[in-house]
């Protein structure tokens, strides 16, 4: 009895392990009968096959990564650049895929051919700066579209081809650095020159203001002085005009007092009013 149960169990295990197969959510399967593809299974679940006769090959149906090694490309103007790109793809027709590229490694090689040649063709039309900025989207779109249609025959759908890096060969990179350096130096010079310009503008304006302030002050002060002089003159004139004769007499006397000091030598005649008494007496 026990032996029978054991035998039945063993049989179940053997049969189920050789004639059942699973297909997961992440894959498709191709059933191959004696080397010939018989059936493509795209829905996940448990399936039956003939033991030993049928062979099952699985193909990932998720989005797959194609990341090529950076490659040299000649662009417009015979410049050479190094480009690093990647592509997302998936196996949409497992049978076609199996027949044309066999496996993922084969697919990578096929993608290499397709994508590289498309990139080369598309990028050859543009200059470096176009590739970097203005035409980047366009290049990626065109390469994606072209590659897509070419890869279809291998059961592959290319979702997108995207440029990752664009680099220059080492020696050209040095040129870029030199140019950048030169540009920076110019920029530095410009900043300093601007500083000086502004500085001169400020200082000269200040000088100008100073000159104007002083000139204005001069004008005002001279005006004030003139007013003073004029007023004084008027006051004097008013008063002195009342008695010009006395004014002349008094001023003359005052002038004597001021003019004569101890170095003065006066030769006086006894005819003069002060001394005439020396004669007459």
């Amino acid at each position: 009895m026990k032996k029978l149960i054991i035998s039945i169990l063993a049989l179940i295990v053997i049969i189920s392990s050789t004639s059942l197969f699973q297909v997961s959510e992440i894959e498709n399967a191709v059933v191959i009968r004696l080397g010939k593809p018989k059936e493509v299974v795209t829905e996940p679940g448990l399936y039956v096959k003939l033991p030993f006769v049928d062979n099952v090959r699985y193909f990932d149906k998720r989005l797959l990564n194609y990341d090529a090694a950076p490659k040299g490309i000649i662009i417009k103007g015979k410049k050479s650049i190094v480009i690093d790109n990647y592509a997302r793809w998936r196996i949409t027709d497992p049978l076609l895929f199996l027949q044309s590229v066999q496996n993922i490694a084969g697919a990578q090689a096929r993608l290499d051919d397709i994508v590289y040649s498309e990139l080369r063709r598309e990028m050859g039309k543009y200059t470096l700066s176009e590739i970097i900025s203005s035409k980047r989207d366009l290049i990626m779109e065109n390469v994606t579209a072209e590659s897509k249609s070419k890869a279809k025959s291998s059961g592959i759908e290319i979702i997108d081809v995207r440029i990752k890096r664009v680099e220059l060969p080492k020696e050209n990179e040095q040129n870029i650095y030199k140019r950048m350096e030169a540009e920076r130096n110019q920029q530095a010079k410009k900043y300093r020159a601007e500083g000086r310009e502004k500085s001169l503008e400020i200082t000269s304006q200040a000088d100008q203001e100073k000159t104007i302030i002083l000139a204005e002050a001069y004008r005002k002060s001279e005006e004030l002085k003139g007013e003073g002089d004029a007023q004084a003159l008027e006051i004097y004139a008013d008063a002195y005009n009342r008695d010009p004769e006395f004014y002349k007499f008094m001023k003359t006397l005052e002038a004597y007092e001021k003019i004569m000091d101890n170095k003065t030598k006066v030769i006086l005649s006894t005819d003069s009013e002060l001394w005439n008494m020396l004669q007459t007496k």
Binding site: K2, R62, Y86, I163, R184, G195, E216, E222, Y247, M260
Partner: protein, 356 residues
């Protein structure tokens, strides 16, 4: 449905104990009380139970491999015969063991991080980073090169998509991030990138990356994208520093000029005030003095008009008295001509002697 829920580890232990309990009772040669939780140990104890027992135990062990734990930050996607069955949350669970069932347990609340252009060698503190120039050097739109390090934080928003749609999720995100950033930086000039454009670039790249990842159906949500370090490449760093210095110099020149201005303008204003004040004073002085002079004159002239000749003579003599004493005088009678020349000559000589 073949799933039995366990709320914690104790439930599992009890469950296993119950399975063995009946068998332990039948057996007499077993002194040790049953020890649950370790089916392997149990199987060793029951070797004598015969082949059937072994099969049952093996079967139980097989069932036991269906027990799994989902951590508080995790979710599990379950497949039965390769087909999606359900997604379960944290806790202790049982599901069909391999090969019937398959499970993917993934941390879904965790924030994942991709570093591009650098690598955290030590989380620290202090953190240490390793620069990866081939990832961080890129072209700006004006054909200059800059060095950008950035990181992307993401979370799994749809576990099913995450597992079933994309292989190499990490690589996918990394490549897409790099491509997006380079595309955005490629549309900007170096000046903008290095100064004001950082925020904008971050935002734009994030948008672009979201677009790309959504088109792939990655089941990923971008939480953040940070430009960590944006600068010129090592080779031209010096020139860039020089520009920064020049910018400082510009500010300095202007400051100095402002300083000069702030010095001389108030000075000039002070000088101007001084000049005006002096002029004002002069004016007042002239007026006041003239008024004084005039007042004196008027007083004298009043006196003078009282007795003109007398006053005149008196004033004349008074002046003479005042002025004459200090000076050398020579008084000559006009009748004595001839000797005058000699006298003057002698006098001049005498004067010269004094001067010498």
């Amino acid at each position: 449905m073949g799933e039995i829920r366990f709320d914690d580890l104790e439930d599992v232990k009890r469950f296993i104990k119950e399975i063995f309990y009946g068998r332990e009772e039948e057996r007499n040669d077993q002194d040790e009380p049953p020890r649950g939780g370790k089916p392997k140990k149990a199987s060793r104890n029951h070797l004598k139970g015969g082949l059937g027992g072994i099969i049952i135990i093996l079967f139980l062990v097989f069932l036991g491999t269906g027990i799994y734990q989902v951590g508080p930050d995790e979710e599990a996607v379950l497949l039965r015969f390769g087909q999606y069955s359900k997604t379960v949350g944290p806790g202790m669970h049982w599901y069909f063991p391999n090969p019937i069932g398959k499970r993917y347990v993934v941390k879904t609340t965790k924030v994942y991080r991709v570093e591009i252009g650098f690598e955290t060698v030590e989380a620290g503190p202090p953190a240490r980073y390793q620069n990866i120039p081939e990832e961080s050097l890129m072209f700006t739109g004006d054909e200059n090169m800059i060095d950008v390090d950035f990181s992307v934080q993401y979370k799994i928003s749809n576990l099913k998509d995450y597992i079933f749609n994309v292989r190499d999720q990490y690589e996918t995100i990394k490549s897409a991030s790099e491509s997006a950033l380079r595309q955005v930086v490629g549309s900007k000039g170096i000046e903008e990138t290095l100064t004001v454009g950082k925020e904008g670039i971050q935002e734009e790249t994030r948008e672009k990356l979201k677009e790309i990842l959504d088109s792939y159906g990655t089941g990923i949500m971008i939480i953040g994208l940070q430009l960590q370090d944006v600068g010129p490449p090592e080779e031209v760093m010096q020139a860039f520093k020089e520009v920064a210095n020049a910018r400082e110099d510009r500010a300095r020149f202007i400051n100095e000029a402002d300083g000069y201005r702030n010095d001389i303008i108030p000075n000039a204003r002070g000088q101007a005030s001084q000049m005006i004040n002096r002029a004002e004073a002069y004016k007042e002085k002239r007026v006041k003095e003239s008024q004084g002079d005039v007042a004196k004159f008027i007083k004298l002239s009043e006196k003078y008009s009282l007795g003109k000749e007398v006053t005149k003579t008196r004033m004349y003599l008074e002046t003479m008295e005042k002025t004459m004493p200090g000076i050398e005088k020579i008084i000559i009678d006009p009748k004595l001509k001839g000797s005058i020349i000699n006298l003057i000559g002698g006098g001049v000589e005498a004067n010269e002697k004094i001067n010498n």
